[in-house]
Amino acid sequence: MARLELSNLHAEVAEGDEKILEGVDLEVQSGEIHALMGPNGSGKSTTAKVIAGHPAYEVTEGEVLLHLEDEEFGEDIEIDEDQRTWNLLDLDPNERAALGIFLGFQYPAEIEGVTMTNFLRTALNAKIEEREELFEDEEGAEEEEEDEGFENSPMEGPADDGEVGVAEFQGILQEKMEQLEMDEKFAQRYLNAGFSGGEKKQNEVLQAAILEPSIAVLDEIDSGLDIDRLQDVSNGINALRDEQGTGILQITHYQRILDYVEPDHVHVMLDGQIAKSGGPELAEKLEDKGYDWVRDEVYGTA
């Protein structure tokens, strides 16, 4: 079980002083599904990016803590008492990923020339390696040589002991793709290059399924999906929670996806803050009445 805790989080655009987040408080646990809703520009995507460590935003106040339990990453990694809580703001994006944070992008990058298979296996192994470094005891750390990167090129993938080899990875990938009903040709396509909107979203869920995060923040993963694809993606998200116990923070504009991915908690974001929280019924009310009534309720304006 892991718990992500945002408290009094303030952030602004790094180049400039435009304030975007003005005191966000939010908690997401493994196994829970939270929906984060709100109008455009309210700060939903910024919240997601700040959690993952996007360099374009500067946190001016508050904390993003990740609490881990001692068997978070299986039996191989023992987590000391004093390593159970991490302030994510002190860590690089890849270190956050290694600790179990996943960000599903609204507009994922297209990387030409890098096949899905190579990319995902490299990412999985990078995560395993980084995790070992974060949790090794301190005496070991001094002896450890400086990270020399990959044994081969990133295109070839790492070949160290304890990492996932090509054949083993093919098996994992094939299984996950079948679950998501993805065409096996995906494996040899270049990362997101020429993917349709729906394929990109499906690919984000596939990556989460392979990297097995504790907490997945999914930024408008429902946008631009037709109804069939929405169901596939939703099934994938439910599987993340049901089979891997991932905690989901589902950012969305619409009620639509919540018919398939039923949230335990719904939060409404307005002007860089969580204005109101509730259960699934809150999402339905938003669908009927829009966001203005929340604004009225919170600010008491007409």
Binding site: A97, E112, F119, E130
Partner: protein, 476 residues
């Protein structure tokens, strides 16, 4: 993972390219370019008179030609002093034409090539391999099965002695005459070593033929000549790799490559160059394509201080085809000026140029291209695509595509993109667990993928490793 890749993995890449051996030369010319030096080279090689005459004529042309100076944005050659370059060093190998048994090589030369992964490359899927050290080819071997089919793969000096008629006809006559440019003239005067490849009619050499060039001594010039003759209906893939350690003074590499692609023949010429950062790399490479012939150039330019290299294809016969794929990487203090030239001199000819460049730490890359479609070359087509990737605001990249179209019934396309390596792309990969360095390496590896997929696996791995090495520690 195959054993050859394991081998490549074992040796530290940086050490492999930066080490240098004590010089142990049997014959060494003086500095500079005089008739005396040219006669001494020719004499040491026991050359026939006709070759000496060609050398002396080229020398005269060299002295009569000005340095190129009127090219827009041309690299700075002011630090290059040809008079200070030692044009000829013969290493101490017993047999003049080199050896065909690896164990007979002197230890220091064997060590050098062992460290570079040669001849391990030979063991896997090469038809033949040659290795040049300084001015001379010191090792040459060709699989018997190809010899039996009449394929010739030998060093150029041997070709002058053993195959004079073929050499007389093709050597710097119609393809790259010394009058072509000042460095072609220089090359014609002092050339030494290199490869001669002859493929008879209708013979397909399925496995690549490889040559490796190593410049070891300080202040020397390397001027190897490569002559490839592919007769009608034949097919061959020739690969060369080049490297040199870094010294305080400048080295000069000025190679000459001539390729004759017969009717319906197919030649691929691939090169991965990693000259040291003080080398001036000024070459002339050209192919002539007969009817329905196909020429493919694949080149990766990593090292050197200045590179000026524009492989050229003359599409002489109807229906002939040319493809260029080039990758250039320029770091601090490097100016890699490279591109392609294609002359469409017959109808229904086609060409494709794909140029990729990467610049970082203030390095400069430039695509300089010329596509000429002659009057009467109707129904010809050309497509040029240039992509540039920059790592920082100090680096520069230019694109100078010239198109001279004299025929109206043609199809011409040009596309260029220049981009800084994307922060969003890097963040995306980081969010999946890759650190900053590895994210950038992955983006670059993907960027150059079109070239690596054209190369045999050892070269593809090598190219990726070279590029990674170039990028180590240079990333913010």
């Amino acid at each position: 993972m195959s054993s050859d890749q394991d081998h490549l993995k074992e040796t530290d890449t940086e050490a492999r390219f930066e080490f240098k051996k004590e010089e142990n030369a049997a014959v060494r010319s003086g500095k500079g370019l005089t008739e005396e030096v040219i006669r001494m080279i020719s004499d040491d090689k026991d050359e026939p008179d006709w070759m000496l005459e060609r050398r002396l004529r080229a020398l005269e042309q060299y002295h009569n030609m000005p340095m190129p100076s009127d090219w827009p944005g041309m690299p700075d050659l002011s630090e290059l002093d040809v008079e200070e370059i030692i044009p000829y060093i013969r290493p101490d190998v017993d047999k003049r034409e080199g050896v065909d048994d690896w164990t007979e090589l002197p230890d220091e030369i064997k060590d050098t090539f062992d460290k570079l992964g040669i001849p391990e490359a030979e063991k896997n899927a090469l038809s033949g391999v040659g290795a040049q050290y300084e001015s001379e080819v010191v090792y040459q071997n060709m699989q018997e099965q190809w010899e039996e089919k009449g394929v010739i793969f030998c060093n150029m000096d041997e070709a002058v002695r053993e195959h004079p008629e073929l050499v007389k006809e093709h050597f710097m006559t119609t393809c790259v005459p010394p009058s072509d440019n000042k460095f072609a003239a220089l090359h014609g005067a002092v050339w030494s070593g290199g490869s001669f490849v002859y493929v008879p009619e209708d013979v397909t050499v399925e496995m690549p033929v490889q040559a490796y060039f190593r410049m070891n001594s300080e202040g020397m010039g390397q001027f190897e000549h490569t002559l490839i003759i592919a007769e009608e209906g034949s097919e061959v893939h020739y690969i060369e790799g080049c490297s040199a350690p870094k010294y305080g003074t400048h080295n000069l590499h000025s190679g000459g490559v001539e390729v004759f692609v017969g009717e319906d023949a197919h030649v691929q010429y691939s090169t991965v160059q990693n000259w040291s950062k003080n080398t001036f790399n000024l070459n002339t490479k050209r192919a002539i394509c007969e009817e329905n012939g196909t020429m493919e150039w694949v080149s990766g330019s990593m090292g050197s201080k200045v590179t000026m290299l524009y492989p050229c294809t003359i599409l002489k016969g109807r229906g002939s085809t040319d493809t260029h794929i080039t990758i250039a990487l320029a770091g601090e203090g490097q100016d890699i000026d490279t591109g392609a030239k294609v002359y469409h001199n017959a109808p229904e000819t086609s060409s494709t140029i794909e140029s990729k460049s990467i610049s970082k730490d203030g390095g400069r890359t430039n695509y300089r291209g010329l596509v000429h479609i002659a009057d009467g070359a109707e129904n010809s087509s050309t497509a040029v695509e240039c992509d540039a990737l920059m790592f920082d605001n100090e680096s520069t990249s230019d694109t100078m595509p010239y198109m001279e179209i004299e025929e109206s019934k043609v199809d011409v396309a040009h596309e260029a993109t220049v981009g800084k390596i994307g922060d969003e792309d890097i963040f995306y990969l980081q969010s999946r667990g890759l650190d900053d360095d590895d994210a950038k390496k992955m983006i670059v590896a993907g960027f150059i993928e079109p070239i690596t997929e054209e190369l045999p696996i050892e070269y593809a791995v090598e190219l990726n490793r070279l590029i990674e090495l170039e990028m180590e520690g240079s990333l913010g």
